[in-house]
Symmetry: C2
Subunit: 443 residues, 2 copies
């Protein structure tokens, strides 16, 4: 099943879009992530594009002009849609056809470079929208470090529940409130209850948190009643993005038993706009994280040879924070943590195969998120709940401000990058959101 | 906010569709529920229709022919769609316009009866589809009897968690696997673990259950970041249906902590095809169920005067079971239980207002389900987990077969009716599903 690397992975290939050759850019010629954008001020009608350096190539316009060689009419039709769902439905072959056509067009010395004339939009003049219409959004819990850290706060003697090492724990999130990077997030209002209080109070959350996660967009779907064998799971994963699963910890603590998080999570989930495709990620596949001695091996339906050898993705994730005071003072965002996605207890393929294991149908454009990505060290904790130990070890910002949880005006920025010797590094772009003050009291 | 009763509620009004005047029909002239159907064998393109007696009036055809007086171009456009989502977005006024036009057309002595010529389809020649494209499906837990019965099995000393009387507990379900009545339901496969076993096993669920619930289709939506005051909640509820939230109890038991049910529920959720509108239900509104002495009153955002006086719906729900042996022997389905929906701890308006209380956006066509509807008595328990006390008190069927949980070939039928002195009784039609054998092992 392994896809061979091809010329689109050649580290020496350069683009005539010069910003794509800048060292450290997230979007060199070897990345070519897909997204949906509109030109600022042109209304909200999305067009499919590909990020290249500091520009966006308008694939919709090129498909309309029949100027993308070799993609075929089906892919061309999908590129004229307002979301990526149709292209996602075509699975990896559709994404690969687009990747090859864009690579041929954008590489230095391209014979068809002229086709791009008038169809390159500076990213600063564009607004990125959601890449797909999300049918269902599922959030997992695939970092054992996160599960253990959080579990320890609630159950000191028994931090990890007995099912964790067998079941890729997940739950359904809210599709309607998945929002594009850059959208402001209102501090939610809800019920909270202090242990000693006789009754809950209603008010703005005082424990607003981010969660740094990786998301997978489902490509090819499966019908209700059918499953996806682990060996085929990767063919159903169209590409990856970054996800900030904003969480109101005080609401969560009071509401979550016995049926799981609800209003603590469904007020907003931010995704990065660019879908980094499976083919772009091919060079950065890494072995599945080995299980500690004594842990059970995955059950057979979750254990595939290819997944064992290369089911992980070597993505380094970073979380940055910038307060309103920092922004006013012209200070750059402060990096809070960094963690490796290769370290997860469950792979994305395992999550997808488990999800469909009971016959649940996944559809093109569904979003699966990994759960908070945390490592073993304090510097690798992917949410404030863990990083400040439930607020007991506040952070200090460069302004001298301290943070236990997020304050109004705080901006959270997630970044992700893949690097490997001999290959051009690629990135995910930013997943960004700013906390806005609570606006209204219900009722 | 109360809508006055009007001539469409007049119990003496009769239809020229004679089956609509038959005593006990679910679909008399006073009901006029909306749904989406196709003629058998004509492909799966849905058309909006209204149920009348044993027939379906094709509203799409009538809208195309401009033959529904007084509905206006916006409603007419919505009726030409393949789902009810557009009409739902128009809220109660849109539904009311359709109700009045259909009533005028279908009543005995109608001057415009001829408009219906060629547009009445016998229900037996039609297949009912999902009434709407479900954006998000949310399941609640609004029966305190159900919550207590189930909680007692898992926590004998402390059946009801401390948040129950304050928070309308809910969680996100799976939208992709919401299916129309009549669709077969494959027994799901998944991980289960016996307490004494060292490791989980993978196999078909051995504790497959139904849950008898009432669903509410969201009409008018609310934007992300906005809330819905309790006094306005009913205007966001387009209409009601029946829901069977199939549940694999053994999968649920092993997977559900700490994030709630997932694969135990998302393999299929059956809804009845007809949306009984708010206007049709108007005569059957009842006071919100009084809280037992000592229970807290709802928090202010969940406490509305109108909701207190008439937030409940006087619906009697029934669950029927027919095994394959009963079907082969020509036996009628056996009634297992009957419960009153007026008895719920939380009203539909409270559920919706709570859901949007943190700014979560609800969209037209979203589905909210009540959770299992159970009463205080054993004869009122809305799922087998409760009815057979987790399988320890099996049922006996008329064939002598016994049931702890559902067997392959079992057919579960939910029915619901509203009756009130001086008014024509109305019903919901059936919510029906048959259990099919597990078909494949994952991986």
């Amino acid at each position: 099943m392994t896809r061979p690397l091809d010329e689109t992975h050649d580290a020496s290939a350069r683009s005539w879009v010069t910003s794509a050759n800048r060292p450290g850019t997230d979007f060199p010629l070897q990345n070519l992530p897909l997204g949906v954008f509109c030109r600022r001020g042109s209304g909200n009608i999305g067009r499919i594009g590909v990020a290249i350096g500091d520009e966006i190539l308008d694939l919709c316009a090129l498909a309309e002009a029949d100027a993308l060689g070799g993609i075929g009419p089906e892919v061309a039709g999908a590129l004229r849609a307002a979301t990526l769902n149709e292209l996602m439905a075509l699975g990896r072959p559709g994404a690969r056809a687009v990747r090859r056509a864009a690579f041929a067009l954008l590489r230095e010395g391209s014979a068809v470079r002229s086709h791009a004339a008038g169809h390159l939009v500076p990213a600063v003049e564009a607004e990125c929208l959601l890449p797909a219409s999300v049918g269902d959004y599922t959030d997992f819990y695939a970092s054992i470090h996160h599960a253990t850290n959080v579990g320890r706060m609630f159950r000191p003697d028994n931090p990890l529940l007995p099912n964790y090492k067998w079941v890729p724990i997940g739950y359904h999130g809210r599709a309607s409130s998945v929002i594009a990077s850059g959208t402001g997030v209102l501090r939610p209002i809800g019920q909270t209850k202090e242990d000693a209080a006789p009754a809950p109070a209603v008010g703005p959350s005082r424990s607003l948190d981010y969660e740094c996660e990786v998301g997978a967009w489902v490509g090819k779907g499966n019908l209700l009643g059918s499953t996806v064998p682990i060996a085929e799971a990767r063919d159903h994963l169209f590409g990856l993005c970054l996800v900030n699963d904003w969480s109101a910890r005080d609401l969560q603590r009071w509401e979550y038993q016995p049926l799981g998080p609800f209003l603590a999570k469904n007020f907003g989930t931010t995704v990065s706009p660019w879908v980094v495709t499976q083919d772009a990620l091919e060079p950065f596949r890494v072995p599945r994280s080995p299980r500690p001695e004594g842990d059970p091996e995955p059950l057979p339906y979750l254990d595939g040879r290819e997944d064992r050898v290369s089911g992980g993705y070597g993505i380094t994730l970073e979380v940055y924070l910038r307060s309103a005071v920092m922004r006013d003072g012209g200070l750059a965002p402060m990096r809070l943590t960094s963690a490796g996605f290769g370290d997860m207890y469950w792979t994305m393929a395992q999550l997808l195969t488990h999800h469909a294991g009971n016959g649940c149908n996944l559809r093109p454009g569904d979003l699966l998120a990994s759960g908070t990505v945390s490592g073993a060290e304090k510097s690798e904790r992917g949410c404030l709940l863990e990083l400040t130990a439930r607020g007991t070890e506040p952070l200090t910002l460069p302004t001298g401000e301290s943070r236990r949880f997020l304050e109004d005006g705080d901006e959270v920025i997630l970044r992700g990058r893949c690097e490997r010797e001999g290959f051009a590094g690629i990135g995910f772009g930013e997943c960004r959101g700013i906390v806005l003050p609570a606006q209204m009291l219900p009722g």
